[in-house]
Symmetry: C2
Subunit: 460 residues, 2 copies
Amino acid sequence: MSKIPYHINLTEDEIPRQWYNLRADMKQQHGPYLHPVTMKPVVLDDLLPIFCHELCLQEVNTTDRYIDIPDEIHEFYKIFRPSPLIRAYNLEKVLDTPAKIYFKFEGNNTSGSHKLNTAAAQAYYAKEQGITSLTTETGAGQWGTALAMACSYFGLDLTVFMVKVSYEQKPYRKSIMETFGAEIIASPSSTTDIGKMMLAKDPDSTGSLGTAISEAVERAVKTPNCRYVLGSVLNQVLLHQSVIGLEAKLAMEKIDEYPDIVIGCAGGGSNLGGLISAYMGDKLTGRGNPYFIAVEPASCPSMSRGRYAYDYCDTGHITPLAPMYTLGSDFRPSPDHAGGLRYHGMSPILSKLYHDGYLDEARAVTQTSVFEAAALFAKHETILAAPESSHAIRAAIDEALKCKETGEAKTILFGLTGTGYFDLSAYTQYREGKMTDYIPSDEDLERGFASLPKIPGIQD
Amino acid sequence: MSKIPYHINLTEDEIPRQWYNLRADMKQQHGPYLHPVTMKPVVLDDLLPIFCHELCLQEVNTTDRYIDIPDEIHEFYKIFRPSPLIRAYNLEKVLDTPAKIYFKFEGNNTSGSHKLNTAAAQAYYAKEQGITSLTTETGAGQWGTALAMACSYFGLDLTVFMVKVSYEQKPYRKSIMETFGAEIIASPSSTTDIGKMMLAKDPDSTGSLGTAISEAVERAVKTPNCRYVLGSVLNQVLLHQSVIGLEAKLAMEKIDEYPDIVIGCAGGGSNLGGLISAYMGDKLTGRGNPYFIAVEPASCPSMSRGRYAYDYCDTGHITPLAPMYTLGSDFRPSPDHAGGLRYHGMSPILSKLYHDGYLDEARAVTQTSVFEAAALFAKHETILAAPESSHAIRAAIDEALKCKETGEAKTILFGLTGTGYFDLSAYTQYREGKMTDYIPSDEDLERGFASLPKIPGIQD
């Protein structure tokens, strides 16, 4: 067999025509979302004022294994998909490892990340329903950019609540979202009741995804013909992101490869859930058994140090409660550069899979070790990775180095979710030795856990 | 025939194995470079202290139609090539034009532009020769980034003189070059004699490519085992950039298309020369006759308003003189955002082709009209283009709109040289209505022309 190329590309015709709904193959489902006031399982009518109708149906669909991708979304996907699977030959060489390292690169679109996969879908369904405007939150800014692009494409208005620390660290992110026509508001803001409350408690708050979510939801339910959309955590998002995993598996099959290890960074879980989807399906149905690793920031270790419990998805406690690994909605993450991973909770699907042992490992890594990996990767693979994505690079390098020790030629697949063009101040900080690591103490975690809700009969 | 896909992709095996040397098909060659002191044609020995040996040979090669791409460079190309040819379906739709618009997109690599094509080649030849460090200049920063990546890959030290206005407008550009290990110096600087002289004349100088070139050359000739490399203008650069045109032509052939119009932005000419290479070969040999348009900034209209004359390539007058369209080495371009197009001269090859009528048109467009086109393009094609590249978008849109008037379904090919992630302050300025247009007066141009050298017997 001839040498495997650097880029294993699919054709446009090979972009999936259906999303894969992992839940149809899960033996057990996560518990229902709970209403934040009644603490009873939410029903469709509870969700409809917040989310688009079709997306609500997808959120609770546990039976349809495959869901057709509408033509209009598929047409949008063609602008930036299929994304390449890339063999990291140069990284292998510098690590002197017998491992074979592949990565699925989702960064070659203007949002700079995989977020466009679900942004395209959510904007489309809103448009179809006759919705005229959307709200959302963004951390690092990649989700906001993706949604701004999708709203521009489908002709919807968009308001983005951007976590204040990112808003200040990344003025260009704001500008790019505005280029696509979005309105950007730093969160916490004085434009919502919840924002005002947070500012009253802490005027210097650098914000969090949890607070930004609260503000975006509040704005959506108070605005006519407006809905809220979320870039991660939700089941619908993981569904849309399954295109990553489906494409990755198809590309790997073309070169007769099957991964021993699949690695993704995990903040809310959208990338990891999408990347592992097809291979997790194999595991659930006994057709394969890759080792799955979720990589988290040590500063915000939802799975590796969190609790599996019902919790609010937001800080303001206006969203439904989800059963998930969480640090507590009051947990205050440090202003790390991986803003996209700075979330107290985790996808309910991934949480369930981790809890049940299908998702094998959650690994927390420090910021400086992540940037060390990112700098090495840039020099040898020429791609400047986003800090979030670089968590996966860190783990992939560590696994490849283990192979060097043992002599095993394992096949490693990791997700490179995006590019770091807007994160260069962090790269500079790392290079100048000014980057610090924050690891929450057990006491810090306990303070977060103290905010976990008491739910009579379920969680006392 | 089924619908042409959005992306017309080539395989790794289809990356050219040879560069195309356009000059072998030119009936007349441009005049020789002249020594800046003696004003006699330069000989190899004059160039060797400045440039790498193999590159000097390529610079003067007018006979070999194809030149093999060394394996090591080809291997590097595989990391980021082949680049996609993209059908701009959405732009066509919003313009409501019968024209078919294609663009060759060179932005999907971390340098964000086509510059990596020649950076890879020049770094390789330096390494092969035993050179240990390189110097260069950069305007917008894309060339510097590309060369930093190539030097990092091949293990060479690099010093980049960055035009001061870009250095200040684009701190992230500095950071990304440093991430790849380069040393960055704002030009004019006090580290060279020429920089000191320029600062003495004008302490507030925002710099120019011409000055930065002088400083980089001075540093190279004064440093042991160091050479200077240039990202544009030179014949060797156009040779390396021929991969763009060769790939574009191959991809167009796959869908049975032949362009009626080929459009590229032109600063020093590297992108335009590369993009049109294969089709210009057709024109020179009677196998095809596309209409070629070079698009320049109205603020720096080297071809459309310049003179065809011998001129220095730099402001400090230490480089050889080239026969080219020029505004005079003393011409002071306004600090427009398209830093990569802010150069007083133009590739000698393109200048000759334009002078002889093979390059059909040089068109100057204003900055605001360019950003208007870029914003429209971003919204509909989802790519955030660099200001330089957006000059080509402007002309492509204008040609497509002409087709709408006439009803002609012309096939338009333009070069999208790169991305504008580091140009968002300019996008913001445009969006906020704060961008101005500078068009030099005839008197401004005369002041530049006054600096054209007098060369007895050649140019009085």
